[in-house]
């Protein structure tokens, strides 16, 4: 079930020659899916409202017209059923892309996505794989209330056998999505409803971004600020503010948390002797907690302070905009954590 590789261009988007356009995050994901569907008939998209409605968030806009209803498939509101169905199809060698309108809705499909997809290969002794991509919106910020604002990476990154991709910008979203579709293992691709309209430079030529390769978004010498997904943008904002205060921040975007590019983080921390982790999931038993533990272990003698962490607050997501903004790992909290970690508080 290995995909045929037609000499993929495998580069960081900014190193690519050729025209660069500014497109939205959602356009980037759509381009990735469409390109891969043109390349491989085994790839298809299914989910709620992906076809006739053009996608609840317009990510799949126009795809029905190009690929037809056999490959762009509207499902009923039946996450457990269609996630399980797609997993069965993947075990036969198809390469489904399953859209969860929100990752919050994946909770009712927890059994298939956690018990079947990531364990099939192991339980079958290597006979059956599961080349599938689950994708959808993750995280709070849109005043959607407690049940629709899940950061599922806090739950799912605990499970061996899944890859977890959390892009922070349109260019990464495209390159990582193409890699996810070609990957032979189950990939959980976490988008953000808050970012779908964000515009960014995306090269026109084909490129794929590998998993487990962090990007250094900003170089700095005083502190290493590690994050992934939407909070990377908060980190860059905070870094600007902190620069004015004389704190030179290095911002690392992990891009994927499974696999995790620890070497890039360790190299940076050995240089700055200081680390802050920003993670939009709850703090207890979180990916951010895991990364902090790994930094402590691998940089024990290099650290001038313990690794500081910024998370969403340890409460259910509030509806009120004011409360929700305070709840998120926002710029203010990041600045405070960096000042504390660098003894400038």
């Amino acid at each position: 079930m290995t995909a045929v590789m037609s000499n993929p261009v495998f580069r960081e988007p900014e190193t690519l020659a050729g025209p660069v356009r500014e497109i939205e995050f959602r356009d980037a994901i759509r381009e990735a899916m469409s390109e891969e569907m043109r390349r491989d008939k085994r790839v298809f998209l299914l989910g709620e409202e992906v076809a006739q409605y053009d996608g609840a968030y317009k990510v799949s806009k126009g795809m029905l017209a190009e690929f037809g209803e056999r490959r762009i498939i509207d499902t009923p509101i039946s996450e457990s059923g269609f996630a399980g169905m797609a997993i069965g199809a993947a075990s036969m060698g198809l390469r489904p892309i399953v859209e969860f309108m929100s990752w919050s809705f994946s909770l009712v499909a927890a059994d298939p996505i956690l018990n079947n997809a990531p364990k099939m290969l192991y339980m079958s002794g290597g006979q059956l794989g599961c080349p599938i991509v689950f994708r959808g919106n993750d995280g709070a910020g849109g005043q959607l209330g407690s049940t629709h604002s899940w950061c599922v990476e806090g739950l799912y990154s605990n499970v061996p056998g899944v890859k977890i991709v959390i892009p922070s910008c349109p260019a990464d979203a495209k390159g990582l999505m193409k890699t996810a579709i070609r990957d032979d293992d189950p990939v959980f691709f976490l988008e953000s409803e808050r970012m779908l309209g964000n515009k960014g430079h995306v090269p026109e030529g084909e490129y794929l971004i590998p998993f487990g390769h962090a990007a250094v978004r900003r170089k700095g010498k005083d502190v290493t600020l590690c994050s992934w997904g939407r909070p990377v943008n908060f980190c860059l904002e905070a870094a600007e503010i902190l620069a004015k205060e004389g704190i030179d921040v290095e911002v690392i975007d992990l891009r994927t948390i499974r696999p995790l590019d620890l070497p890039t983080v360790v190299r940076s921390v050995k240089k700055t002797n200081c680390a802050v982790v920003v993670d939009q999931s709850w703090s207890f038993a979180s990916p951010g907690g895991e990364l902090a533990a790994l930094i402590h272990r691998h940089c024990f003698d290099d650290l001038d302070n313990f690794v500081h962490r910024v998370h969403t607050d340890d409460v259910p997501t509030p509806y009120s905009s004011k409360l929700e903004q305070e709840y998120l790992p926002n710029v203010r909290k990041i600045c405070e954590a960096v000042r504390a970690a660098t003894y400038r508080a």
Binding site: G81, D184, H213
Partner: protein, 379 residues
Amino acid sequence: MSSAQASPATPIAGNRKLPSLPQATLTKWLRDMHLIREFEVRCMQSYQEKKIGGFCHVYIGQEAVAVGCTQAVRPEDPIVTAYRDHGHALARGMTSRACMAEMYGKVGGCAKGKGGSMHMFDRPNNLYGGHGIVGAQTPLGTGLAFATKYEDEVVHGGKNRRVTLCFLGDGAVNQGAFYEAMNLAGLFDIPVIFIVENNGYSMGTAIHRGTTMSHDLCIKGRAHGLKEATIDGMDVVAVYNEMHALAEWCRANSRPAIVDMKCYRYKGHSMSDPRKYRTREEEERHESNDPIGKFERVLLDHGVVDDAAIKSIMASCREEVRDSIQFSNESPEPPLSDLYTDVFVEPWGPFTGSSQPEFTGGAANVCSFRATDGKEGLV
């Protein structure tokens, strides 16, 4: 019981006429049933000897279902089942050695000892598990059938050729996933047959205590437009005849079906079940309707076999299972390195290994991390 029994039960399909198949085929059915029973009896012994661990659910009494159903379809038709799966694996062609060694947790097992009794996988024979969570295999079965249709129609541009058998127990009909699976199958014209092996008990709960309208489980499929059949699962000839007709209908029409397969589980739910929820008299009544004895009489009446042939079949099954136990005892324990394999096809994705990316200075470091046997992040 409160379950309204207003609608009459679907009549049990009754074509018990021995099909005109080669003598060798009919004899093979008998041998397959004997093999499963002998295999399961020895499983119970091995379990008591603690050679088999964990949960173990034996199939004794239901042999006609797995054999009749698998024989009624083509080898390329996928099948998937729940955790009482040894019978399906053997009927589908898995060797006794691979099946037994899997339960012994040895490298000679079908999944190298990583799956166990509840997770029999056999890709060459199109057996897609062996699934442990009740009802979880029903969306998967729909997905297998979806894939056969998609492969034939979209990838190869032809016509659908395959039908999928998805087995479940009567306890699984109360899981939500089953209804979602049936709805999707009905909606998308998916050729999957949900075979409810209705042995009357979900663990220790008699069916009427847990299931509404339990006199006729086909009702559960009616809301989704599934074709229905109620079949005497204690008669391999009836199972074959009815399933063959049904499978060919589903194949030709690319539509799903549900089967209320009436059968009985002679032993407990699992090895730890003392069966206090039912009477010995009830068990004896069903044991006197034994599918193997019944089929032997049919074959004797039709002159397909004689007593000597039956004895020889039984002897060969005993020998095969004895050999599988010897094989399993002698098969090595998995090496500890096996703990870390088969977690990912490629832990770092499609562009590492031989196609290691050249653009990043981090590549070398990533490689050194990979060299730690999949223990991510630890050096």
